[in-house]
Amino acid sequence: PHALVFLEHRQGDLDSASLSALTAASQLGGQVTGLVVGSPEEVPSVVEKARRLNGLNTLLHCASPQYSTPLPETVSPLLEKLLSQNSPFTHVVSAHSSSAKSILPRVAAKLDVPAVSDITSLEHDAASGSTTFTRLIYAGNAISTVRASSSIPIKFFTVRSTAFAAAGAGDAAESEVNALDSVEVSDVPTEHISTSLTKSDRPDLGVASRVVSGGRALKNAETFQSTLYPLADALGAAVGASRAAVDAGYADNSLQVGQTGKVVAPELYMALGISGAIQHLAGMKDSKLIVAVNKVSASLQHCQTPVIRLQDPDAPIFQVADVGLVADLFEVVPELVEKLKQ
């Protein structure tokens, strides 16, 4: 096999999700070529970092002003060209990022091959040329094992970053670096107007190794911030929120953990004032250590059948939590912050 890994970067640094995609590509057991696409200002410094990545045999790069914001409409033609003319590539791999998952299926369709989204494991059988993947369906409530046989000449897949460790750098020989000519697209139908990134000093929710999440029991936006942020900062954690907290306006959309928000699997997930709706559990149940602090009454206040729930003192979050504490989070969290600082 020979995998082409689409390496994404932001402000001169490689995205860690792309490094997980590289690890997945290495597990195919063959050659691995990386591809860096970007503006002429960005590409050289990214290439310097990418060429030292472990597991990469060759690094291709392509710079053009049209790639400064990678639109599917401009990047797809480059990939199509790379993958059509006597292409050596058998697999195309990327992170399951908002950018790559917009680009890869577009290219796959042009090449008339299916794509496999958000895989959590893979196994390649070199003898038969088939690759078997596992991926989660129904928001993680079932695992599907699918096989792409040799009848699919190029196998496209995106990788769930939490299922693969990020590839390191500097332990192996530097990869061979080759520049590619860009494929200039005239009359692009789509124009990039602006990008606004949520500014935060805390780690990004999607990749953080520690997450502190708050639910509706946080009462309002002000207490959400004044209660959760000090704990997040004491732990060096990202802040998340349940859908209920987002809907109630306590926290921004981008912080939502769950089926319709972000799926996270950090080393530590602390759920505070979250009762644990199915949709929320789907977004965090693969976390390594789950800690829940919830007052029983907090889960009751928005329960449709409080009479039944009264006989079952546990909010569902406690059924998945490794460490549960039934207590008032407004008393517990400040104490925790104080003692963590010591």
């Binding site: 369709a109 958000d118 928001a139 959309n253 319709t260 406690f318 490794d322 460490v323 104490e335």
Partner: protein, 272 residues
């Protein structure tokens, strides 16, 4: 002479019937899939797409000529089409597949949609559909269709503003870590994000009169073969299994015990 009249917009909304989001799904004993003998409803992301199409017409009035919904699915998917018609779509296409047939893959769906678009005498200006279906969670159909058509695409949209005179759409989309704004020339493929619900689009409930009206709206029935499309899956599903059960339920009595557990697992305060 007055400039010629603006050509009116035709909107196509592909929708999917899926297991209802509130159903706790069960893997079947044969491990071939899940128990489908449960409540189904319109994929919530597609419901947002229908709602957005109807709202585009509410904003642009007569500039929108038609809203057509399409589904590819078993006979029961007809109910899902009726729901969309009751929400405000004008007509529907049902590309019917037998109950026994496997669910088509995104590429097969995209090819079917392409064939349908090519059959529309007045063309299609906007295709708006959910960013993913909550059953297979693939999230590819819109992008694949955009590739096959060579059209502009805007995935994970949370805001859509169509300018019918200039034939462009300004679209705000959710990206990792923030938002991005694009200006897309029509025709365009838009995929909708559910988080849009909080921004603008709580899907409407169909009123009884609208449900009655929907029963009279035209539904065209077709098959993939009639469209000249092969929708046989290319990937082979080996098995479907339950995820490992998480054994939780551990309890502590106070903050000190909680801290001890954290320390035991290697979590301490952030080293400054």
């Amino acid at each position: 002479m007055r400039p010629s009249a603006v050509r009116l917009l035709n909107i196509l909304v592909p929708i999917k019937r899926a297991v209802d989001y509130a159903v706790k799904i069960r893997v079947n004993p044969e491990q071939t899939g899940i128990d489908l003998n449960v409540k189904h409803s319109m994929n919530p992301f597609d419901e947002i797409a229908v709602e957005e199409a109807v709202r585009i017409r509410e904003r642009l009035k007569d500039a929108v000529k038609s809203i057509k919904v399409v589904t590819i699915g078993p006979p029961k998917s007809a109910e899902t089409l009726r729901t969309a018609l009751a929400m405000g779509a004008d007509s529907a296409v049902h590309v019917e597949i037998p109950d026994s047939a496997p669910s088509p893959e995104p590429l097969g769906v995209a090819k079917t949609l392409k064939a349908l678009i090519e059959r529309q005498k007045e063309g299609v200006d906007i295709v708006i559909l959910g960013k993913q279906a909550i059953d297979d969670d693939a999230g590819q159909t819109g992008q694949m269709l955009a590739g096959l058509m060579g059209w502009s695409q805007a995935t994970f949209a949370s805001k859509v503003e169509v300018n019918p005179e200039q034939k462009v759409a300004n679209i705000t989309r959710e990206i990792d870590g923030g938002l991005e704004e694009l200006r897309c020339k029509l025709p365009v493929i838009i995929t909708t994000d559910l988080r849009q619900v909080q921004l603008l689009n709580e899907p409407r409930y169909a009123s009884l009169p609208n449900i009655m009206k929907a029963k009279k709206k035209p539904v065209e029935k077709l098959t993939a073969a009639e469209l000249g499309v092969d929708i046989t899956p290319r990937l082979e599903t080996i098995k479907v299994t339950e995820p490992p059960k998480r054994v939780g339920g551990g309890k502590v009595a106070n903050v000190d015990e909680l801290l001890a557990k954290l320390k035991e697992a290697g979590f301490t305060g952030k080293r400054a």
